[in-house]
Amino acid sequence: MSFINYMAREINCKLVYYGPGLCGKTTNLQYIYERTNPDAKGKMISLATETERTLFFDFLPLSLGEIRGFKTRFHLYTVPGQVFYDASRKLILKGVDGVIFVADSQIERTEANLESVENLRTNLAEQGYSLDKLPYVVQYNKRDLPNVASVEELRQMINPTNVPDYEAVARTGVGVFDTLKAVAKLVLTELRKGGT
């Protein structure tokens, strides 16, 4: 749910990185955090286990610049990907304006990717959203690894509706900002349509 503040002349939008455990959601945020000017970002918060698995969420506030005199601010969240954290994932999705699905390109993660997209769809539907109507992009991550499925295969499985999709190596930053920009654009375009 975007928040337009006429007083502060700013607009706030919420983006959520979704995907199976270890697919690289947190890594996306870490890269964005490292590569953003200090004045355009706030602190990154990670609520994680001792083994650095996301426990509740990661949070990173970013400001992208101004449109028509309004500051555009994006709040980036990741969900915990491990299957048993489903209750927390539902909470993070509340009020979401745009979703990035991060797929793990490794062949052995095929099942996990499919399960996670399905889970995303279900959890959104529970809150009255449809994945098909939400600003939504897909990222095929870990393209640097040897045992990856081809993009065509991944697309067929994970992105049957053909939303914008990007190959990425989140660890080195390949594709990370492309993915972010794509979803941010979709969210702003949605706002133009009126939103209410």
Binding site: M1, S2, I4, Y6, F59, R68, A87, L91, K94, R192
Partner: protein, 160 residues
Amino acid sequence: MINPQMVMYEEEFNQIQAVVDRLVRDANAKVVFIVDKNGQLIAASGDIDNVDTTSLASLTAGNIAATGGMAKLLKENEFATQFHEGEKANIHIQLVGNRVILVVIFDSRSSLGLVRLRVKKASEELNGIFESLLKKVAEPGADSPFAEITDEDIDNLFND
């Protein structure tokens, strides 16, 4: 369809800010802030230069969301009030009208009793303000400033 937007206008913002400013004084608080349930900071007052209100806002909303989730599992209504006592700082969290969250941070110069009392009054006032704000937002003709933006405006954001 996207969510109904949360919108804040100058008039209501000033009213909310006045409530928050007064609460800092009346409750002898260090910091008072208001967050919506999605973690967006709406207003803050007090010694805010020394706290990271953006981070606190997101964590507060996460906290309320988590306890709300627990309440649901127990078939309870949401837990409207939370209190955390630290060695120096204490934090009082109040859900207002099931819409926004009022957070008061205070130390030994104040007391839980005083904070509770003042929060109760402030909550009632805030509830009224947010109700009229919601009505205003629902009125037709409340155009988004983004209705007129072009593809170029959007592209320009990313050109640096």
